[in-house]
Assembly symmetry: C2
Homo-oligomer: 465 residues x 2
């Protein structure tokens, strides 16, 4: 695996050992060459402070000799008769070679680290299209790689133009704050599109004091080609010295993250649109029956509250939402003279009304994605005791989402005024649910419904999330 | 910019120069040290073949001396009295140092190349959610980086389980072939999930002869965590020696590509579902009027054909598609006794029918995403001369998508049987379109319609793509 070296990296920069004369001459080949060139009894090599590395220095202080230099720095001294200068020259040359090697090794390690960060984040972000989840992963990754007390992923809301925090980890986190664009250090960095290290935040004129103590920070913009969609911020409460290498790692993270966040946001928006469109069309179909205004939405909201109470899995919650929205879609097939009749229906007319469960199934079967919700729509008039329609299924033969919608639908029908009767009050409807719990309705579902606060359930604009 | 070094890389491996004695001793510091150690008049250094690099060799053949070795390889000879052996030892040591430096430099360059590939593909793939476009970008990137005659991106179709090619470039490309899973070299690599180099394809027992000549190939699986969703294949008609480094680059490309392809496929699927759902619900609403069976679909297909003929931009084509699907959604607000009346409508009844354009707008205005298609739905009964409804707009005041739907809708209405009249034949309807071109309808739109082959336009299951 390409990122197998990941384990060798930890927070902070890569350290390389200093080039010392001691390290160069301790190699056997070098020692042997030195001995060949100068007579051993004449040769003394010391470190910069005069401590003997080869030979003896009994004087206890630096001896006169030729300096071994690495650039401008003296890294040691050579004494030893006529060959001292040659040896100093040779050791200086070997020191330069060693420094070049270590610089290259350091550069290679840095690149390994960068690649490891990239592969890691790529693997973690792969095929997640949930903006919250994606940004939480990014925060976790930043936390692993960079020393910081606070980390946040900030995005620009396309509708409001404000910055909002998608995910954060830190000592004090205040989600959902809408920041003014361009304001503060992060704002200026988003506007410029260039990542920055600010190690002394307090003295930066752009700094706006917030609730979090910040001494040092870095910010890397999230960019899609040339468009900035947000930023990753890391900060420390105590003064820190963030380095160019830290910023590079943060920028690598930001580069890989930007597309993932943007894709997740696009997917989220399309999903929202899809649900809104289906909901609106379902509501439009429902509106032919003016006595049921708002029925679709209320049934959806009751159903989801029950589903949550029963601890349904995410996938079942999704099915439940769509099935609840579309449970009466089959009413499109019922003629006005029956659907809109204000007096009580005859038995024959009622048998025509019953057809809406079948019609609903006929509409939805053409949509592959909706196959899973057909049971919810088709069987929401089945009864737990098997006396319902269209198929007379009983008990757990009836899909759980249909059993839930049955309770939600019935409660809403009971509490809504109809031309031929006034709606029941909440308490009376609850009595009726209790009375027929276990016969008409699944008693587990009824109990879950009784645990929810119906008045709190209604309201809220978003169809999901 | 992090990927600024991209330009230095080309196809194939990174070459490093061989370590030669000539290159080591041509450095001034080295030459000076050598001269200090041995007397210049005694010193002769030759390359492995005996050619003098320092001093003279008039004999024309290798002289007896001490070998300079790099591992087991003799890279030259030193002659020069008693210090010859010391010099050979020193030069051997310097050669090893040089080799280590070059290996590190090579490794660093390779990592730069890998990072450059990753950043490049990340930037290119950023925020594209079209599977075709994403895979074409990947093919283009592979072409730029790896020497190959044929490159293809293959994915596993979730419905059929077959492999299909999303994009390819090469001498002979046969798109849309459904490959059996597990078959052939690529099939075995997808099954194993491990990338592979096969430089001698013909003698590989897994090879299945196809229409393309292949001598050497590489294949890297597209993986999302542990799930293989497809592969990138590159192959050459002539025998080539693909290296581990080539495979590493292809694997880096594959790793970055997999999530992009998968996200694009997920987005595509959601979009498909969305359109199918809207279409099905629109059709359901339409079905209340049994005389217009298939009207929605035909109007969409005629409209799209006209839009294509007029060269509409992608965004307008999208609007046109949705508006055509939903153009009669407002009919939900018309009561059965008028909508289904089999005799001719009175003037008052007709004025109620006209309301469907307003109702349509009222339904769609709740859906943010549908705001742009409202003009198409609301104004599809406007006339070019201003005598239409609901607002009496004229000419280019009417959105182009409404002018297109007007022609498509009218043609379909004219050629469909109604209870009170038989539908016109194609020729008669065309005559009518021509007669009122410029008055009822935009003449450019009518002309575009006349250029399309109506019978060819109908059919085809997919709602978009």
């Amino acid at each position: 695996m390409v990122c197998s070296r990941a384990a060798v990296f930890s927070k902070g920069g890569i350290k390389i050992r200093k080039v010392t004369l001691k390290n160069i001459i301790k190699r056997q080949e070098v020692a042997s060459i030195l001995g060949d060139i100068a007579p051993v009894d004449e040769l003394v090599i010391t470190d910069p402070g005069g401590k003997a590395l080869i030979g003896n220095n009994n004087s206890g202080k630096p001896l006169p000799g030729c300096p071994v230099k690495l650039g401008e720095e003296v890294i040691g001294w050579v004494m030893g008769g006529e060959k001292a200068e040659t040896l100093a020259k040779l050791l200086s040359y070997l020191a330069v070679q060693e420094l070049e090697k270590r610089s290259l090794a350091r550069e290679t390690l840095e690149k390994y680290k960068e690649i490891s960060v990239i592969y890691d984040i790529t693997e973690k972000l792969a095929a997640s299209l949930d903006p919250k989840q994606v940004s939480q992963l990014i925060v976790g990754e930043a936390k692993r790689l960079i020393q910081a007390d606070n980390i946040s992923v900030m995005v620009i809301d396309e509708d409001t133009g404000l910055y909002s925090i998608l995910a954060a980890s830190g000592t004090e986190y205040h989600p959902k704050i809408g920041f003014q664009p361009g304001k503060g250090i992060a704002g200026s960095i988003i506007a410029s599109g260039k990542g920055e290290i600010v190690n002394d935040v307090i003295s930066d004129p752009r700094y706006i004091r917030g609730t979090i103590k910040i001494s040092s920070m870095m910010c890397a913009p999230l960019k899609i080609k040339d468009r900035v969609i947000g930023a990753i911020n890391v900060s420390s409460a105590q003064p820190l010295n963030y380095t160019a290498e830290d910023l590079k790692i943060l920028s690598a993270l930001a580069l890989q993250s930007a597309a993932a966040i943007e894709n997740a946001r696009l997917y989220d928006r399309l999903k929202d649109t899809f649900l809104t469109a289906v909901y609106t069309l379902a509501e439009t179909i429902e509106k032919r029956d003016p006595y049921t205004g708002g029925h679709t939405k209320r049934v959806m909201q009751y159903s989801l509250a029950i589903g949550k109470e029963l601890g349904l899995a995410d996938g079942d919650m999704e099915r439940l939402r769509l099935a609840a929205i579309l449970h009466d879609v089959g009413k499109i097939g019922i003629r006005d003279n029956i659907l809109l009749k204000s007096s009580k229906l005859t038995l024959e007319e009622f048998s025509l009304i019953k057809m809406h469960t079948i019609y609903g199934q006929q509409v939805l079967k053409h949509i592959k994605y909706f196959k899973d919700i057909i049971p919810g729509v088709m069987y929401h008039h089945e009864r737990f005791d098997g006396k319902g329609y269209p198929e007379g299924l009983r008990g757990e033969e009836i899909d759980i989402i249909a059993r839930i919608i049955a309770v939600a639908d019935s409660y809403d029908a009971m509490t809504t005024d109809r031309p031929y009767r006034k709606g029941l009050c909440h308490e009376a409807a609850v009595e009726e649910l209790k009375r027929c719990s276990g016969s008409q309705w699944d008693s587990d579902v009824v109990e879950a419904f009784l645990r929810i606060d119906v008045s709190q359930t209604l309201g809220g604009g978003k169809l999901y999330g």
